[in-house]
C-alpha cells in the first residue's frame, strides 16, 4: 500500500507505518527551534529585568524574617501564650533575655547588634513607640537576672503591656500578612482580630480612593479631548493630518520632566495663566487667586496632558480604518447624523476607545513623577507613597505590599476588560 490511509479515528498513517502527525511534527521542529532561538535573548532579558524583580516584590510583601531571625526562642515560647489579657509567663521573658543576650554577644554571624536595630525598626512599624524599648532593653540586658519578668518591666514598662508581645507574636512567622493589612489601614489587635488603624494612622484607603478617582477622571477627560481630535485627524487629508499627528506626538519627544515643570510656569501663582486672567480682570491679586498647582488640580491637568497621546493614537488608528462610506450608508438608510454616529460610527471605535482607556488608566494609576512634582499635599498618589517607603522610611515590605496590590488591581481591570469588550478587540495602534 503506497497511499496514505485514514484510520477510523481520523489518524493518518503512511506506508512506512509512521503516524502522519509525528511526521508533521518532525518536519516543523526545525522552524520551532529557530523560533525559540529568536525569542531567547528577549526572553532572558525579560526574565532578569522584569519577571524576577516582580516575583521578588511579591515575595517581599509577605516575607518578614526579622523577628523570627532575631528572637527565635521567644517566638517559640510565645506559642504557649493563649490568654491575651494576661502577660506571658516567666519562661517567655527568660527566652527573650536569652535571645537578646545572644544578639548582644554578636549573634549567629557576628551581626547581632545590627539585627537588634532592624528588629527595633520592624517592631516600631507595627506598634509605634517601641523602638526605644528594644534598643534600651538590649543595652541593659547583661545586667538582667531572674526573675526576668520583673527585671524587664523595670527596664521598660512597655514589657508590662500585652501589645508589644502581641506584636512579636504576630511578626514571629517569617511569612505574614501584616503589610497587606497596613496597606489597607488595618491591623491585628492583641487578640489577633483585624481592626482599623487608629484614626491618625489611616492614610492608605483615602490614597487608594484618590488614586482611583484621579485615574478615572484623567481617563474621562482624555476621552473627551481625544475623541474629536482623533476624528478630525482621521478625516482630514493625509498631508494635513500628518502634520497634526506630529503635534500630538511632540510631547512624546520632550522630556517628561520638562513637560511637567513647564506646567509650573503656566499654572503657578504668578504663572502665565493667572497673570493673563488677571490682565483681563477675571482674577484678583495674591490670596484671591485660585490655587492651580501643588494640589489635585495640578496633578489632573499635568497628567491629562502627558497621557493624552496614549488616547489619541489608538483612537486615530481605529478611526483611520473606518471608511466614510459607513456613515454615508447609515445616512442613506434614513438615520440622521446623530443617530448614524451613535449606531454606526461609535460602536466601530470601541476597540480604540477601550485600548486608549485601558492604557491611560493603567498608566495613570501607577503615575509617579508628575504628582511628585506638581501634586503638593492632596495630589499625591499611591506610587508616591511606594517611593516614599522605598527611599525614606525604608519600609520595603509595605512598599512591596502596596505595589502588589496595584499590580493585582491592574490585572483585575485587564480581566474585566477582557470579559466586557474582549482583549482581541483591543487595537493599540
Amino acid at each position: 500500500m503506497s497511499d496514505a490511509v485514514a484510520g477510523k479515528d481520523g489518524d493518518f498513517s503512511i506506508a512506512d507505518g509512521q503516524n502522519l502527525k509525528q511526521r508533521l511534527r518532525k518536519a516543523t521542529s526545525r522552524a520551532r527551534w529557530q523560533a525559540v532561538f529568536m525569542v531567547a535573548p528577549l526572553g532572558v532579558f525579560v526574565l532578569l529585568t522584569f519577571i524576577l524583580p516582580i516575583a521578588q516584590m511579591l515575595f517581599r510583601s509577605v516575607d518578614d524574617p526579622v523577628v523570627s531571625d532575631a528572637l527565635p526562642q521567644t517566638v517559640v515560647a510565645l506559642e504557649s501564650w493563649t490568654d491575651r489579657s494576661e502577660l506571658p509567663e516567666e519562661a517567655v521573658y527568660a527566652a527573650l533575655a536569652a535571645d537578646l543576650k545572644f544578639l548582644r554577644a554578636g549573634g549567629a554571624d557576628g551581626e547581632g547588634k545590627s539585627l537588634i536595630g532592624r528588629l527595633a525598626t520592624r517592631l516600631n512599624f507595627d506598634t509605634s513607640g517601641v523602638r526605644s524599648t528594644i534598643t534600651k532593653t538590649a543595652r541593659k540586658v547583661k545586667k538582667i537576672e531572674a526573675p526576668f519578668k520583673e527585671a524587664f518591666i523595670k527596664a521598660d514598662k512597655k514589657w508590662g503591656q500585652p501589645d508589644i508581645w502581641a506584636s512579636i507574636d504576630r511578626l514571629g512567622g517569617a511569612v505574614n500578612s501584616t503589610q497587606f493589612l497596613a496597606a489597607l489601614d488595618l491591623r491585628q489587635d492583641v487578640n489577633g482580630d483585624i481592626v482599623s488603624q487608629p484614626e491618625v494612622r489611616q492614610i492608605y484607603v483615602t490614597l487608594w480612593l484618590r488614586t482611583l478617582w484621579i485615574s478615572l477622571l484623567v481617563t474621562v477627560i482624555c476621552v473627551a479631548l481625544a475623541y474629536p481630535v482623533s476624528y478630525l485627524l482621521a478625516t482630514l487629508p493625509l498631508r494635513i493630518s500628518n502634520l497634526l499627528i506630529i503635534c500630538v506626538l511632540l510631547p512624546f519627544w520632550t522630556s517628561l520632566l520638562v513637560r511637567t515643570t513647564s506646567w509650573i510656569v503656566v499654572l503657578g501663582q504668578n504663572g502665565v495663566l493667572l497673570e493673563a486672567l488677571h490682565l483681563i480682570g477675571l482674577v484678583g491679586e495674591g490670596a484671591d487667586r485660585p490655587q492651580l498647582i501643588y494640589n489635585m488640580t495640578g496633578t489632573i491637568v499635568a497628567m491629562t496632558h502627558i497621557l493624552l497621546p496614549f488616547m489619541v493614537l489608538p483612537l486615530y488608528s481605529v478611526m483611520k480604518g473606518i471608511s466614510p462610506s459607513y456613515m454615508r450608508a447609515a445616512r442613506s438608510l434614513g438615520a440622521n447624523p446623530t443617530l448614524a454616529f451613535v449606531r454606526v460610527y461609535l460602536p466601530q471605535t470601541v476597540p480604540g476607545l477601550g485600548a486608549g482607556c485601558i492604557l491611560v488608566f493603567i498608566l495613570a494609576i501607577g503615575y509617579y513623577i508628575t504628582p511628585a512634582l506638581v501634586g503638593g499635599q492632596d495630589g499625591q498618589l499611591i506610587s508616591n507613597f511606594i517611593a516614599y517607603h522605598m527611599q525614606r522610611s525604608l519600609n520595603w515590605g509595605l512598599a512591596a505590599a502596596l505595589g502588589t496590590m496595584l499590580l493585582a488591581g491592574v490585572m483585575a481591570l485587564y480581566w474585566l476588560y477582557d470579559k466586557i469588550v474582549g482583549i482581541n478587540n483591543m487595537k493599540l495602534g
Binding site: 445616512r331 442613506s332 438608510l333 434614513g334 440622521n336
Partner: protein, 369 residues
C-alpha cells in the same frame, strides 16, 4: 408627450467642481424614467460617482438643480431623500449581524418590531440568504455580502436605488451571475435603478438605457442596441464594443453619406455621415470588425480595400484576424468559422469590403489636424 411627473429623477444644468478650478461634471441634463434601469458608463474619473453622490445628497451641486419625484432636493439632507444605495465596498455595518443590518433602515423609521422582522425575513429570502440572518458580514463570501447590500438598499421600499460599481470586487463568474440577479430583482420589485459602472458589457447586459460619460459630459444616452449599432461619436464607438478606426478627410457630401479619402493611400470610402463637418474636414471612420467581409463578391459592397494579414487568432466560433489596411496595422476582422469560410494565411493580401451603412463617419480625433 412625457411630463416631468413621469421622471423619478431630473438633473437640470447640473455642474460640479471640487476645487473651484475645474468642472468634474459639466452641464448635466438627464431624466430617469420611473421604473427604469439607467446605467452611467464611463472610464474611471469621468464623474459618474460624483453624479451619484450629488443625487444621494453627499455632495452639493455647484450649479443647477436636481429633482426627485419632481421635487427639488438640493436642500434635502441625505437621510430625508429616501434613496437606497449600494456602495462599491458594500458598507455593511461590521458590528451588526446581517439581520440587524437589514433592520437598521426600518428601525430608524420607527417601524414596529413585528413588521421589521417580517420585512427582514422577506428581504433575506428575496436574495436567497434566508439562513444567514444571524451571521456577521465578515462571515459571508463576497457575493453574499453583495446580496445583503442590495437587500438592505431595498428593504425600506425606496422608489430609487443607486448602485456604484457594486460588482467591482467580484470575480468574473460571480459578477455575471449577480448581473442577472440584480436585473431580476429590478424587474420583480419595479424600483428605479441608477447604476454606475465602467464595464461596458455589464452596462449593456443590465440596462434599459445607458448614459456614456466622458470628461464630465454625457456623450450619448441610448438603449444598449442603439449605443452599439449607432454610436454618435468616436468616443462612444471606441468605448462600447470593438471598433476599427480609420482617419481621413471628407471629399464629398452626398445627402446621407459622405465620401472620405482615408490616410495612408487606401483610397475613397463611402460612409454614413453621422457627425462630420463639410468637405475638407477631418473625420474618424468607425467600423465594427464583424461587419467586414473578406473577399466580397464583386459589386456587393460599396467599399472595397485591400489588406495584408498580420496575425490570426483562433477563437472557436470566429477567427480574429489582425490586418494592415491603409497603413493602420490594428485593423481587426472577425472571420466567422462558418462552412466554407475564407482560409487566410499570414502575409497574404486580400480584399475587404463593407457597406456604407456599416461605416460611420464620426468626429475627428482630438488634436488631429
Amino acid at each position: 408627450m412625457a411630463t416631468n411627473d413621469d421622471f423619478i429623477v431630473r438633473f437640470e444644468n447640473v455642474q460640479k467642481s471640487y476645487d473651484g478650478e475645474s468642472l468634474v461634471v459639466k452641464d448635466l441634463n438627464l431624466n430617469v424614467d420611473r421604473g427604469e434601469f439607467l446605467t452611467m458608463l464611463g472610464p474611471s474619473g469621468s464623474g459618474k460617482t460624483t453624479c451619484l453622490m450629488m443625487l444621494a445628497g453627499f455632495e452639493p451641486a455647484t450649479h443647477g438643480e436636481i429633482y426627485l419625484n419632481d421635487r427639488p432636493i438640493n436642500n434635502v439632507p441625505p437621510h430625508k431623500r429616501g434613496i437606497g444605495m449600494v456602495f462599491q465596498n458594500y458598507a455593511l455595518f461590521p458590528h451588526m449581524t446581517v439581520a440587524e443590518n437589514l433592520a437598521f433602515p426600518l428601525e430608524v423609521r420607527g417601524m414596529s418590531k413585528a413588521d421589521t422582522e417580517a420585512k427582514v425575513t422577506r428581504a433575506l429570502e428575496m436574495v436567497r440568504l434566508g439562513p444567514f440572518g444571524g451571521r456577521r458580514p465578515a462571515q459571508l463570501s463576497g457575493g453574499q455580502q453583495q446580496r445583503v447590500a442590495v437587500a438592505r438598499a431595498l428593504v425600506f421600499d425606496p422608489d430609487l436605488v443607486l448602485m456604484d460599481e457594486p460588482l467591482g470586487a467580484l470575480d468574473k463568474n460571480l459578477r455575471e451571475e449577480m448581473q442577472y440577479e440584480i436585473k431580476h430583482i429590478h424587474e420583480t420589485v419595479g424600483v428605479s435603478v441608477v447604476y454606475v459602472t465602467h464595464d461596458q458589457s455589464e452596462a449593456l447586459t443590465m440596462s434599459n438605457r445607458v448614459a456614456v460619460f466622458d470628461d464630465g459630459i454625457i456623450q450619448q444616452l441610448a438603449p444598449p442596441e442603439e449605443l452599439y449599432e449607432r454610436p454618435v461619436n468616436a468616443f462612444v464607438a471606441y468605448f462600447i464594443g470593438e471598433n476599427n478606426r480609420l482617419y481621413g478627410t471628407v471629399k464629398e457630401v452626398k445627402g446621407e453619406s459622405s465620401v472620405v479619402e482615408i490616410d495612408g493611400g487606401g483610397g475613397m470610402i463611402e460612409s454614413l455621415a453621422v457627425n462630420t463637418g463639410g468637405v475638407g474636414s477631418r473625420t474618424t471612420l468607425s467600423l465594427r470588425p464583424e461587419r467586414v467581409v473578406v473577399s466580397p463578391t464583386a459589386g456587393s459592397m460599396q467599399n472595397v480595400v485591400s489588406g495584408k494579414v498580420e496575425e490570426l487568432i483562433y477563437l472557436g466560433d470566429h477567427i480574429r484576424t489582425r490586418m494592415t489596411v491603409s497603413g493602420n496595422n490594428e485593423f481587426i476582422v472577425k472571420v466567422p468559422n462558418a462552412q466554407g469560410h475564407a482560409t487566410l494565411k499570414v502575409g497574404e493580401e486580400v480584399q475587404l469590403g463593407w457597406t456604407t451603412e456599416d461605416c460611420r463617419a464620426l468626429d475627428a480625433p482630438a488634436g488631429a489636424a
